[in-house]
Symmetry: C2
Subunit: 399 residues, 2 copies
């Protein structure tokens, strides 16, 4: 089962797993397409309805993709009954609102994100326990659960600490102390607590994949036919910083870098995302093993380096703009990511493949771009309380 | 504002704050009374409808208790509008499902607890931010967020740790690593994340009161008139271990101690609960201060000691019964609780006041006792997966 299998990560993952010989059943409520309608924004790439996508895939490969429309956060009985009917070996859980700026737009967006993400995760676990289905849950987390590590090297989930316990020093291995930067990120730290409890109490096997900012659009499977094409979001809510640079370059605008561009972020290509999920599924945790946490990222870059790279590839100018929050603009990021590499991941390098993205996506579809949608208009802090700070200053878009 | 002001802690807190000269406005959706109906159990003490309670209080003291019926978890607009209208100095937040065994009864109870508690807490914070109301939030947490400390002394919320960061050892003060023992306790660890985020991002001032098992029924205010009497729960879902012993003694049954009785728990009298909330409100955190965490407990006892105390006071026999889970039955508990003592709390001692509870409540109302309701029937782990363990084995009732 792939919950959220119509979305930006869910769709290519569903195809990749299907191509690898797995029986794939998609669950989605089309919340992401609804958000397009709400925001008046759409994918730069023209995406087909899911029925068309599934039919094209069947024609091309002979593989069926099952589908049921369920709101995982609110239609528990339907979810549980489907779990009971399919008794899946694994559930890939993408059924969450996944944009930080969107989660900060208003009280309603904050509440939607908390309600949807927390209940979706908890409903899945409650359904597995109620039905007695011993499925491995692979969940898309985020590097944002770590904040920027607070000056610490970022391990894969667990941190070894020493505590002065009065009579003796003791050592413990604990979940890395969470430091979410938005309501969206906060929900992923909540997910960690829910996974830890159901793992301890009910023995549910979970792999939490803390992903960096995804770049790229196509995978070998989505590239097979234009009707299988994946989303490319460049709007201020759902677009990532790299997609913004690519769009700006494609339409002849300067690349806007906030402050010094010293913000350091972790990245991964969508083709590596789908491979990582496959690797995680094909190497499930043992029964009795604690929640397995992998950092699903392959490269770390300062944003100024990315802007310079896009500029070199496209000739675009770089423009530095003011940033209201000094403190968020310079950080180091030392991230451990050995687990997925050890399982065989061979990463795609930004340096090698970004030009492909420029030509195959940004230039090809630039006429569909709506300039008004590029800036982020969410504010992290409400005006009445503190008059500084726009979402852009914290913008870990899509992170 | 007192959210959940009709409940076991909320009602005496409302009266205590009103008696101390504060203007009190109660919000409640009567979920606790609904649970009585669902479980076919009721308070041993006969409690009046809230309207009667408020009217009696007005007659006795001249003080008005405001009231609006709002489901804080699901009626956001009503909550926000009320916050905007009242612009309270402080909000005491008790509006959560508070029983561990109840939270483990079924998938539906787990889901209700997660949905209600997480959304109630988040809605309150979102409403404060949306309205720009700079109220201090005093929240009832639980000692259960710490688990039993995992062999560590339990500090007031924050733990100092050292980390080997490669080139150097560094020190950090982190939230004590959570280790919840039930879905209910898990929601209180989720609350901690929500508070930490809104404190960091929006400057909301929060005091989280991690309470031990509450014993006792009456406060000076609820004792003023029988129609103000507080709840006394002895059923397997909402009753605490001490109330179970008291009921067993009052009806001439042996006190049932699981295993060796070596389980150690933290306790506090309801009269100290209401004083602690008052002390927290009258000493709010500074603007810019992180979430303040107090351990709201005054004594630590092994359950066998409690049984022996009740036995000495009442002549009841003690009966040892099997326990299915060895590991949960012997633990130490070293808890820091200096903050509230330093603010002036002068604790009521179990040793001194338990007899009062036996005669004024358990013996007085014993004819209302329904024997069938005493055992806990929730199971922490579902039969199909693992056939051992009943809720009683983990029973931190009301903890």
């Amino acid at each position: 089962m792939v919950l959220g299998g119509d979305g930006f990560c869910g769709w290519p993952t569903s195809l990749h797993l299907s191509a690898a010989g797995h029986d794939v059943f998609i669950v989605d409520n089309f919340a992401r397409r609804d958000a397009d309608a709400e925001l008046g924004a759409e994918s730069l790439t023209p995406i087909e309805p899911l029925d068309v996508r599934r039919e094209v895939w069947r024609e091309l490969t002979g593989n069926e993709l099952g589908f049921r429309r369920i709101d995982v956060a609110h239609e528990y009985d339907e979810l549980r009954d489907l779990v009971d009917e399919l008794r899946p070996d694994a559930v890939v859980h993408f059924a969450e609102q996944r944009a930080a700026p969107y989660s900060m737009k208003s009280a309603a967006h904050k509440r939607y994100t908390v309600d949807n993400n927390t209940n979706a995760t908890h409903n899945l676990l409650a359904a597995l326990v109620e039905t007695g289905v011993d499925a491995h849950v692979a969940h898309l987390g985020t590097m944002g659960v770590y904040g920027y590590g607070g000056g610490l090297r970022i391990p894969e989930g667990y941190l070894r600490v020493r505590v002065d316990n009065g009579d003796a020093d003791v050592e413990r291995e604990i979940l890395f102390p969470p430091d979410p930067g938005s309501v969206y990120h906060m929900t992923k730290t909540i997910d960690q607590l829910v996974f830890a409890f159901y793992n301890k109490n009910d023995g549910v096997r979970v792999t939490d994949l803390h992903q960096g900012i995804v770049w790229g659009t196509q995978t070998p499977e989505t590239a097979l036919d234009d009707r299988l094409i994946n989303r490319f979001d460049y709007d201020g809510d759902y677009g990532t910083v790299l997609n913004r640079f690519l769009m700006q370059a494609a339409i002849g605008y300067p690349l806007t870098v906030h402050g010094t561009g010293g913000q350091t972020r972790a990245f991964i290509h969508i083709r590596d995302t789908v491979r990582c999920v496959q690797l995680a599924l094909e190497h499930p945790p043992q029964h009795g093993e604690r929640v397995r946490i992998f950092n699903q990222m392959t490269e770390v870059h300062r944003l100024i380096e990315l802007a310079e790279l896009v500029s070199r590839l496209t000739g675009a100018q770089i423009e530095f703009v003011d940033n209201p929050r000094k403190e968020a603009f310079e950080n180091d990021l030392l991230v451990e990511n050995r687990s997925l590499l050890d399982l065989g991941l061979n990463p795609i390098r930004l340096e090698d493949s970004l030009m492909q993205e420029v030509s195959a996506i940004a230039l090809r579809f630039r006429d569909r771009c709506d300039l008004d949608k590029i800036p982020c208009r969410s504010r992290w802090v409400q005006e009445p309380r503190e008059a500084v700070g726009t979402a852009d200053s914290f913008d870990l878009p899509g992170f």
